[in-house]
Symmetry: C2
Subunit: 357 residues, 2 copies
Amino acid sequence: MDGAEQPKRRPRVRRGSGELTVADVARQAGVSPMTVSRVINRLGNVLPETRARVEAAIAALDFVPNPAARSLAGRPQCRIALLHSNPSAAYLSEFLVGSLAGASETDAQLVVEHWDGGDSPVRLAQRLTDHRIDAVLLPPPLCDDAALLAALSASNLPLAQIATGAPVAFADAVSIDDEGAAHAMTCHLLALGHRRIGFIAGDPNQTASALRQAGYARALRDAGLDVDPDLIVPGDFTYRSGLDASERLLSQVPRPTAIFASNDDMAAAVIALAHRHRLDVPHDLTVCGFDDTAMARAVWPEITTIRQPVADMAHRAMLRLADRVRAAASPDVRAPLHEELAFTLVERASDAQPHEK
Amino acid sequence: MDGAEQPKRRPRVRRGSGELTVADVARQAGVSPMTVSRVINRLGNVLPETRARVEAAIAALDFVPNPAARSLAGRPQCRIALLHSNPSAAYLSEFLVGSLAGASETDAQLVVEHWDGGDSPVRLAQRLTDHRIDAVLLPPPLCDDAALLAALSASNLPLAQIATGAPVAFADAVSIDDEGAAHAMTCHLLALGHRRIGFIAGDPNQTASALRQAGYARALRDAGLDVDPDLIVPGDFTYRSGLDASERLLSQVPRPTAIFASNDDMAAAVIALAHRHRLDVPHDLTVCGFDDTAMARAVWPEITTIRQPVADMAHRAMLRLADRVRAAASPDVRAPLHEELAFTLVERASDAQPHEK
DNA sequence: AAAGAAAATGATACCGCTAACACGATTGAA
DNA sequence: TTCAATCGTGTTAGCGGTATCATTTTCTTT
């Protein structure tokens, strides 16, 4: 041993979690870490052959980049709020599942915020920016609140409306064709042979309601039938309103042979009331709903309804917002995009051909 | 200018997002960044006076530490899976909201995973560890699946059972006192004056079912009443089963004056059937449920039920798991903790005193 | 074919925070 | 009084990526 004093520092203890890093992949592929990063992020200027080698290495090692490091190293953080008004809304869980999937895909953080209208929209916007929220996801019914939309937009927050009937110019929107779906359902009832079809409208404050009613009316007209105003009764999407509405419909003479409710809760109410009137569903009365929420399969008979791909919608909206937040600095701010996803008519047990008396 | 060549590198462009850092706080407080970190993480060995100064600086600047940097700098990552079997279960959204709150508090990542029993439990465990899941949150009914629990535990994954009736020794558990809650509800019915109280049992595969039934029976015995086996009918938590069960109860002579269903879906079915029998709820028949899911407020009259603080439960479980994952390296592995949260009896419109005929 | 432009890749320095260690100031024990 | 243990705080070196610039290679162009 020489007399020179040893350097004081000993080799530091590794803190690393032992997980793979870009360096491991780089070694395996015989390139530099930077090239690996380029491949991962699909940045151009990588020879196809190199890219292939790196991709092979990634696959071989089953490498997953560390999101924390990623976001720390320059990629802007991205916190997206899901603003809801009703924590027990039936669609919320599907909503969350979809958003969460989108969030983890884009390495965004999902923050669930609640707003019941107690604060003013402006205060809410303030609260959100204080919480460093970068964008907001708006499920119904909040997606149709004009004052809210205005306030959030004024705070320069990118917005996404989900399942709205009236997309605004300054927000992204993902929805289904409510009018078309209601049209399809009505056609389905017509095809079964129904001619007197009652319709229970939805909450007039939600934009989708009018669209659904329009689809119903168009289908009747297309079939050469008159739209009888007596067969259209108001509702507000609650079970209770469905009870009142169906009472009005079922007391008519002649009674409608089918009732199309604007959502499943009201459809469930129709079934309950029909049973109280000693009517068999679907033998004496066909009932159908809209949304395919848990209620549709909770009751008996299970309700024929329109399925909205809620999880998908939330997923798409999430990706779109993350994109927008990350691209905010760049010059090419894309115009808001209004996307329409396909709905499905799911036939269950509450519909049948009209019964000849 | 001197002739020496300028260093090639120019000052780098700042990539920072302009957000505050520990350094800013340190400057403001006149200490080093490390001391700020110590204060934030409540590590000991900081003079109270220094701590106060730092805390003041944090408050003044409204500083929030960057979670990405935090986890990158050593704190072990923490990915927790919420494993569910039914994406549209009524409680799932509350569940997610609570878990998400816990996740953001502890800087853990929540991953939602679905399992319908298609894969073997062992394969599932494999899949989870492949996805680098560190711990698993189990809501009902999965929290009672013995094979699943065994497989996950064998993979060394910390587990938390939520709302289970039978906590296992090797998992954390957060639940309510199902037996006590059922007892309380039954006492409530007795206090109203009911003596013939029907009971609809829950799915025998879920451990909470037996507890609820036991609570019902104990309350009757406490009141000096016999437990009439004819008044206890089986169910499986579905609306459909509630329909069958209540048919059996309502056809008895004398008819029960109250029916206590083990969950809200079945209670809703009781109401529907009662209406079909031209019975007014609650005038002719008192109905109550359990869980306080969306169904309880969807139907009319709204159902008197037992509220489980699902969001809180998920929240607590989440914190516990994050703790456990982070403490995994340390020697003092705490014993699993079984926690019991308070329930609430929420009175709505489906109960009343028995009506004298 | 030489010079120049463009493309591919590498090297370096961070992002914001904290583990590990260093070090001066107290405090306590011998 | 001297030396060691302790405490409070500062210093250094990463964590695992990526922005930026440097360098090398390849392809044009005249």
